[in-house]
Amino acid sequence: MKEKRYIVYALFVVFLLTAPLYLNRYWLEVLNSVGLYAILGLSLNIIVGYGGMFHMGHAAFYAIGAYTTAIISTSYGVPVLWLMPLSGLTAGVFALVVARPIIHLRGDYLLIVTIGLVEIVRIALINNVFGITGGANGIFGIPRPTLFGYKIFKSHQFLYLIWGCVAVTVFFFYRLENSRFGRALVYLKEDEIAAEGSGVHTARYKLAAFVLGAFWAGMVGTLFAAKMTIISPESFSFWESVLYFMIVILGGSGNIAGVILGAFLVIGLPEFFRGLENYRLLMFGAAMIFMMIFRTQGILPPRQKVFDVSRFRKGGEPI
């Protein structure tokens, strides 16, 4: 079982690395889009998948990251990719401030508040809050990113940049998942009172999950801004948040591979329906219902964690 899984992963990596050889620009762009959403999905997965919090306002953090990058790079000429940590930080601080008073809300109450959050942010962006967001026009003329002196503007260059970021995200988040922090979030999701009774500071961990998820979403905002070179409020609607949410749940909440698969399904699949024109979204909606019915836990639900405990047993016997 385990070996087979790694073969699939390896094939996937090979496919991505060689994609520019046989895919045209359009499909590369689809892959880029999927990659961006995969990172967003992974960042939301920390909050929804591990922490089990109903959060449908993730686009707010993404927007704040993207706008931070856009505003600073266009007004001060700072190279775009350098702004990634700053954008993450802005989004993270924003999450810290807004999530603190609402973090104790349960289930659906948290859901509507996060929806409210993303709507407030979008309305603020449209209304050109503080006179820096450009209103409905958005912000344009964001410079292209450069990496090691190379200007990145072609689709395949973005492919490597974006999926490189996906790889880094997977690397870090896999470690996170298998750590004290990641486990604490899962305990929270499973049973908040038992988690607290085991010494987990629930409020702090929920908040930390929000801030970390927001930080990552903010960094994706930088990538998005750099790739589009223009950003406007349309890109950060409530519907966007719904998409990330679907990616996580559909793919398999709490499972990294599942979330990436979810990004392929939610973002990639509609592209295959392009030929159907007006029927495109209808088919997409129906596909979602059926996928949920046939795999109610998501396509790839989280697997049980395996720990190497053999060394604590002597000859099959516990020490």
């Binding site: 899962v186 305990y187 009172i193 607290e196 010494g199 970390l212 604590f312």
Partner: protein
């Protein structure tokens, strides 16, 4: 004296669930809290563990007042508990459940985890070993990889104890630990309780199985309608007329 309750009171709306209850728990003893259903026993536990905040009175643990302190802080100070209705993480393995208990004795945060610092790595190894020790202590080491939801009822109770033990407590609070256990399992549980006491732990438990209570406990506190009505050694309690009337006597009359 490890734990001292004085005049502890908790009200829910008009109902006084716990009414000026005071008692002390001596170090390295097994203390039993008994009384009819709805007498407020579990509420007293919830007050001690910080799940509820007391309306009046004081809880002093190792010389420190802990009334109204957050649960996780109390766990850090050295009080661990199990639940009357088993609250395991059903979808996680037995080992992962016990790892939850190790949480409060670890330090590394998300950044340490992502960077896998040497300290974090060592800590994780320690946690695994520590968790396995607890599993072994309660006799579940060979079931470490099983989903906790698939364990038998008695084993789930034991697993909860292992999870609580993993927090390195000074005081262990067990809420009906023998609930759903058969006779043999109960016997084994009594042995386990003695083993814990002998290793330096103090145990405070609620139990309806009088056999276990009389055998395992050094002292008993009896509550009824939120009030303490008696306290003493098992022998004294068995002889107490009020207790017989209120609680034990029911059987004799029928």
């Amino acid at each position: 004296m490890i734990l001292k309750l004085s005049n502890l009171t908790k009200r829910f709306g008009g109902l006084t669930a716990v009414d000026r209850v005071s008692f002390d728990v001596e170090e390295q003893t097994v203390m039993g809290l008994i009384g009819p259903n709805g007498a407020g026993k579990t509420t007293i536990f919830n007050l001690i563990t910080g799940n509820y905040k007391p309306d009046e009175g004081e809880i002093v643990f190792q010389g420190q007042s802990i009334g109204g302190v957050w649960t996780n802080k109390i766990v850090m100070l050295g009080i661990a508990r199990t639940f009357q209705t088993i609250r395991l993480f059903q979808n996680l393995s037995a080992l992962e459940n016990v790892l939850a208990g190790c949480h409060c004795r670890m330090k590394s945060g998300p950044i340490g985890a992502m960077l896998k610092t040497p300290g974090q790595k060592q800590e994780e190894l320690w946690a695994l070993e520590h968790a396995m020790k607890q599993l072994q202590f309660v006799g579940l080491a060979d079931r470490a990889e099983l989903l906790s939801g698939n364990l038998s009822y008695g084993n789930q109770r034991l697993l909860e104890i292992a999870r609580a033990l993993a927090t390195n407590p000074r005081l262990l609070i067990l809420d009906e630990p023998a609930g759903g256990m058969n006779e043999q399992e109960t016997e084994a549980l009594i042995e386990l309780i003695f083993k814990m006491r002998d290793s330096g732990l103090t145990v405070l438990l609620i139990e309806h199985d009088m056999g276990l209570v009389m055998k395992a406990c050094n002292r008993l506190v009896v509550v009824e309608y939120g009030k303490k009505i008696a306290e003493g050694t098992p022998e004294e309690i068995q002889a107490d007329s009020r207790v017989i009337e209120a609680y034990l006597g029911i059987d004799e009359e029928e």
